[in-house]
Symmetry: C2
Subunit: 214 residues, 2 copies
């Protein structure tokens, strides 16, 4: 389960992870703006703040290395914007589920990938990404809504299954072997496989925790 040899270069990693957190922030900010009540709005605003703070932490790392954040993030905009568009959901609960599942899976993934970064940056980035995302409020809202509405529960279970596919594709595209010019080698695939199995297991635990069948 060593993916360190698959880690992208530092700039690639930081640009992509930074834009990922910015997208998470934007999605949470939309959830804040459309929140049905003030207590939840308040909790979601804290979660949005956490995503933004992770984003700014990654931006600081980019600047520290003498690079321009906008330039480093630019290659990932089209792909990640499309991901956020596809996963924005038909209503507020679908949006919450997207925020929760995508942030969980992608942060897990980037933390794993950070193992392969140089020692002067990998652990610091892993710690930053591993900080509490403040998503307890999302879990609580989703659990309550699912308990009280069976139809919503089955719709969200479907939505969660769709999300995991789209989110894994984003993770897959973050790995150098995804370069279409080169194509994934069998050895590479063999090393990636267990990481994805792990990511899916964690995703399933999150679905279970909400009372949804993954």
């Amino acid at each position: 389960m060593d993916i360190s040899s698959l880690a992208p270069d530092v700039q690639h990693f930081l640009g992509q992870a930074a834009y990922c957190e910015l997208g998470e922030f934007e999605a949470l900010a939309r959830a804040v703006a459309t929140s049905p009540n003030l207590a939840v709005k308040e909790g979601l605003s804290a979660a949005a703040g956490r995503a933004l703070s992770k984003h700014h932490g990654l931006i600081t790392e980019i600047r520290r290395r003498g690079h321009e954040p906008a330039t480093e993030m630019a290659p990932f905009v089209a792909n990640l914007d499309e991901f956020r568009r596809k996963t924005s959901g038909a209503d507020w609960h679908e949006l919450l589920l997207s925020c929760y599942l995508a942030s969980g899976l992608l942060e897990d993934f980037f933390i794993r990938l950070s193992d392969g970064l140089p020692r002067d940056i990998g652990p610091r980035v892993a710690q930053l990404l591993g900080e509490d995302s403040g998503t307890d409020v999302l879990v609580h809202e989703l659990q309550t809504a699912i308990e009280n509405d069976l139809a919503l529960g089955s719709r969200l279970a479907m939505w969660g299954r769709r999300l995991v596919g789209d989110t894994l594709l984003v993770a897959r595209s973050a790995m150098p072997a995804a370069d279409p010019e080169v194509g994934p080698g069998t050895a590479t695939e063999a090393r990636i496989e267990p990481v994805f199995t792990e990511l899916i297991a964690a995703h399933t635990r999150r679905m279970d925790g909400l009372g949804l069948t993954a």
Copy 2:
């Protein structure tokens, strides 16, 4: 120019100022999401983070006093949501101008009003609200756009004049003398007047700084 005797009670002040900063955050987050380029998006996200951090600072003060943030903010939701709706603008530049002018005027106002709060909270709140709002990026974007587009400049000058009226109404409603049951007394009005003159003067300086006629 002493408005301390006009200061609302602490809970009223904190609830209103906190919801005001949350609204500023939501408006800036919308500007982030609709930003035309990545460098500006990055700068705006920092400004959104500043508004959110002021909001959370005020929430901390509410909690410290043993109150529930959602309860304290609730009385101000209808009025402030309506304000944000009216000032959201027809396009991205109008939204930026709203964010910049409203945050400038309302923060000035709440800082003035905080003079009348108890000594164990007033100065701390004034310092929090006076922290850099990160709006330099808004000023830079607006200045550049106005310099390059005369028609946009005159449209934004009109928009700025409309905004100041709506924003002053929000400020006015934050003062206890605005209670319609009581009605403003002449003595009260006489004390409020110079404060509003000051707020308008600062607004005019912000407009001038952008190259707009107030």
